[in-house]
Subunit: 305 residues, 2 copies
Amino acid sequence: MSQVMIKDDEVDIVIGALQSDLTSFMEEWRPVFSRFHLIIVKDPDLNGELKIPEGFNLNLYTKSDIDKLVGSSSSISFSGYSCRYFGYLVSHKKYIISIDDDCIPARDGKGQIIDAVAQHITNLTTPATPFFFNTLYDPFSKGTDFVRGYPFSLRSGVECGLSCGLWLNLADYDAPTQALKPDQRNSRYVDAVLTVPTRAMMPVSGINIGFNSELVGPALLPAFRLTKEGKLRWETVEDIWTGMCVKVVCDHLKLGVKSGLPYFCRQERGSAIESLKKEWEGVKLMEDVVPFFQSVRLSEAAVTA
Amino acid sequence: MSQVMIKDDEVDIVIGALQSDLTSFMEEWRPVFSRFHLIIVKDPDLNGELKIPEGFNLNLYTKSDIDKLVGSSSSISFSGYSCRYFGYLVSHKKYIISIDDDCIPARDGKGQIIDAVAQHITNLTTPATPFFFNTLYDPFSKGTDFVRGYPFSLRSGVECGLSCGLWLNLADYDAPTQALKPDQRNSRYVDAVLTVPTRAMMPVSGINIGFNSELVGPALLPAFRLTKEGKLRWETVEDIWTGMCVKVVCDHLKLGVKSGLPYFCRQERGSAIESLKKEWEGVKLMEDVVPFFQSVRLSEAAVTA
């Protein structure tokens, strides 16, 4: 898999710490994390010392680091889930994998941990095919190919900018959906990666993504925060906005965005019903934002993210 | 599932008979076929009597029926795989499911036959979502939903015109791919249905499809035959052309095209290497045809297929 193609030191794993005690999170991920360099960014609004177990290769960034680099006046935009974007800013690696701290590795049928980082790297280092949809999903996956009728001129594909993973157990639903279907859990493991076609918009979740920072890094900014945004995933839309920026940039630069594997196992936290009044602001904004992203066209002269 | 929503007599299953002895094909499908009305169209180029086992509700059409209805001069366009289109023409049902005669039902992990017809009907009778990609695939499948960030105004979806199934064992590759990788078999069961986004082109295979004939029936015509076309699936592109017509029509009429489940199990026939010299004509034509379909825009005044 990916290990033959890239070195582990080309990868940074970025973790935005929204909870103080990362012990169980880090221990669950130890078999995967121990091979890579980690960047942990403490939510500047989080009080108390972070608890991080020993034995990892990591750099920790806190409010003072954020203030030093970007000035205290703008540090507000790196609070909450947006603290991860500070990690993207200070990383110098080609590949960045971002993992929410309420996720643990998914396991295959035999109980073995799925190496989600390796899957993201595979997605990012094999070509993407945004200009024609392959009905057998990713033609570069083992055991599959381009189906009959796929134009040969498009089979070499293009570079992949962004890899979006999914979630078992608690899927990434919004607060209204969670509140309506509190018992709904995702147990369907869809064994596929696909390139989302060019010009198709999608809701990118920041919970489980990887990206090529040389290609699209500058597009991953905490540009969009709701005034009443909360500390639960379903109360935020920063990643949805950022994802649409990245998708538009990838479409313009003829890069690919993949979606599907790897899965994380997401654990519960918070009450969706409590969140409902905060959420609606983001939900309503989406109605205005999506037509904008669907119609925006970038200048031909723009050739980098 | 679908049985609560539509009646079995709203469905025609169309089978183009390219081989004389349909006994084992029909017996494999008996548990599924026995509930529905079948239309069997004998390839007008096929000699000898068809062997069809008893106990099915079917109408058989042969060369003389084709000649009678459309005149002998144009019957050429219904030869080979294109004979199925005659079945589409004579059907009066709302839903048409088309099955190649070298396919048998796929089986689930417990060895139970998968009811492919029920899955096509489910795909066709639940909404499609072509205007925004849902990362958890079909939001109308059991146990799944729209993910956070999906615009609420798009969640009611649109009607589905075409449902494209896939293939286990021998996948639908072209002759060059088959010749290069003769041992490649598809064993990856991807448990998902998705709406292919609007304006994304795709290679529709005629092996395993269902469609709503009231919505898109007239677009499924045998409009495109190669002069040197042969009698093996990989030697034809009639369905690829037809599929792009249907996709363009669906995009224009704001209908959906779904891809994924159900799977058929496809059995071997023919030699890919022998076919290579016939295939290239179609492969080369695709290079010209795809940009046409990607750029064609239909008149606003056109409101039916």
